[in-house]
Subunit: 347 residues, 2 copies
């Protein structure tokens, strides 16, 4: 094992806030090699044994918005303002499309030129390659690594066009949706269900000639939010305005984040949510790995195409097909021959 990957050394580097140790740990997290991912896990567990990575002293923020909404400018201004308040800010990205497009939403650090040079900021582009599940898994571990290295605000950026928002919303404490000025039509550019994920809605580019359009959008979204069912936690989702370009309205965004955080802590939901996320992450890894092993099984691979065709043609039932393939895979595993279904296992 090369000394640079030694978990003890890396964990010590993380706790000292060493940027190279953090970058190296994330490289291990993103590795396609199982042994390197195991090393990364050892680093995180070593760091967790000392630090309080899971404590509410850190804040995990998700930020989404369609391309063109000004996410980079917003994060640059917002992150700089937070650092001026004494925070250390890490920025990660989840963009499963980056593997296909050949570039990532954070590939070019010149997008956040100012922040990239700030010693209290850490910017990491989206991991490339793999499916959303893999990208999400690695980003979750990178959050822990950033927190272990002393970054108390971790921002996870994603694009508002795919499935990635749900994944990001499920790994952060608060989810922010950035919108463009102008009402009506813009609502339709946003994927279904994304407005419902947001804890705070922000109309960006509320400046210059766009001021009237921004006001219109704000009213429109406030109205649209009344169409949604009330939240179980009682939080009333605010619709704010800001101009990241002119650096106006950013303090109100952070005030809103702080108010949301306070409300969640008072209600006992902040910690509970992190615990729920951690357990749901464990179960999603278990499910993914079971299915990976199933698909990789030689017996399953030999028959899958033929059986899927038969299901599509209707010559065998989906249940029968599932039974046949499971029989191949589980031949050595303990199989209860009959009896009632295990309750609550529909996961």
């Amino acid at each position: 094992m090369p000394a640079q990957n030694d978990p003890e050394t890396l964990a010590r580097g993380l706790r000292a806030g060493n940027r190279r140790a953090l970058a190296r740990t994330i490289t291990l997290i993103e590795s396609t090699r199982a042994d390197q991912r195991a090393q990364a896990r050892a680093v995180l567990e070593q760091a967790a044994a000392d630090a309080e990575a899971g404590s509410p002293e850190t804040m995990r923020l998700g930020i989404t918005g369609v391309p063109g909404v000004g996410k980079s400018t917003f994060i640059e201004s917002f992150g700089t303002a937070l650092i001026e308040q004494g925070h250390k800010v890490a920025i990660l990205a989840v963009d499963p499309s980056s593997a296909r497009s050949g570039g990532s939403i954070l590939g070019d650090k010149t997008r956040m030129e100012h922040l990239a040079r700030n010693p209290d900021a850490f910017i990491r582009p989206s991991p490339t390659g793999g499916n959303l599940g893999g990208v999400a898994r690695r980003t979750r571990e990178s959050i822990l690594a950033c927190e272990a290295a002393g970054y108390d605000v971790v921002i996870v950026e994603t694009v508002g066009v795919g499935q990635s928002e749900t994944a990001v919303a499920d790994m952060v404490d608060a989810f922010l949706l950035l919108l463009l000025p102008g009402g009506g039509d813009e609502l339709q550019g946003i994927k279904r269900g994304i407005v419902e994920l947001a804890d705070i809605v922000i109309v960006n580019k509320a400046d210059g000639a766009m001021t009237a359009a921004a006001n219109e959008a704000t009213s429109e979204y406030r109205r649209a939010l009344t169409f949604l069912r009330g939240r179980q936690d009682g939080w009333k989702v605010p619709v704010l305005q800001c101009s990241a370009l002119e650096e106006r309205g950013l303090d109100r965004v952070w005030e809103s984040v702080a108010a949301f955080r306070e409300a969640r802590i008072s209600a006992g939901l902040f910690h509970k949510n992190r615990e729920r996320q951690a357990l749901s992450w464990m179960w999603s890894e278990i499910r993914d790995t079971l299915l990976e092993r199933f698909r990789a099984d030689a017996g399953v691979r030999a028959r899958l195409a033929e059986i899927e065709q038969a299901v599509a043609d209707g010559t065998i039932t989906p249940s029968g097909a599932a039974d046949t393939l499971l029989g191949t895979f589980l031949k050595d595993a303990p199989a209860p021959a009959s009896g009632p279904e295990t309750p609550g296992s529909g996961g």
Copy 2:
């Protein structure tokens, strides 16, 4: 094997349209005994070998709406009208809550008194017990059984208050949402995302003193639907009015169903959707069963509580916990020691 459960005999009975054979087959489908469920599957496969259960000559309709919207009256009137047009109509229900409440939404056939006596109608209450996954699985097989017995319209009823709508929408060709007269507030009584599942929206009880309120609701929902993103299949979701009590507007509902069906067939989506549903059903059974076996594993059961606690406390990472538990379960299975993740396995 008792003669009454002989797959050959039952399949022959189904093909002859014998109601007792159909009822018996569904009882086997709903059995908690694995051997009886296997018999049911043999019946369905035998019947599928001859009949064209998967062909577009049948229509599978999902119907949902909050309690009080008049689903029973609607189905009674609508089903009777369809039978008068020469159809044979089967009515199934998905109500996972029926196990807890001790009754089912279709438990009392007097709810559909007229239809229950009609020789061309077949009414079956929701299977009781088990989780939603189990109920959905059994209902899907029951649809095939009804079709094999010559019922060319199968209506699956569910309540508009839980997760069951998504499951039902994923087993039918068209999904109908019944609404109450009156706008605004009513929208909030409906679970998030349900309006988006609907292919046809119907404001029921558009009669007498409710006529004005029904008009208001119709406008309100038409407007609400414009807030939703356009559908990929190009279908414009109609908002219709009817009075199931006065038996008005039901012909327009069926015309809309027929128009939707025609549009889907012309676009090549009708069959494709059924194939997709069948494959997604197969994979969901595979996933559920893998997880059931995992949870039932003695090694996993011995350590699960302790490991979940450690994840909640943050002393081990979710990935590390998943690895440990998977190691216990998969110790005999082939394990690729390293290498890239299997793409597309994030299911």
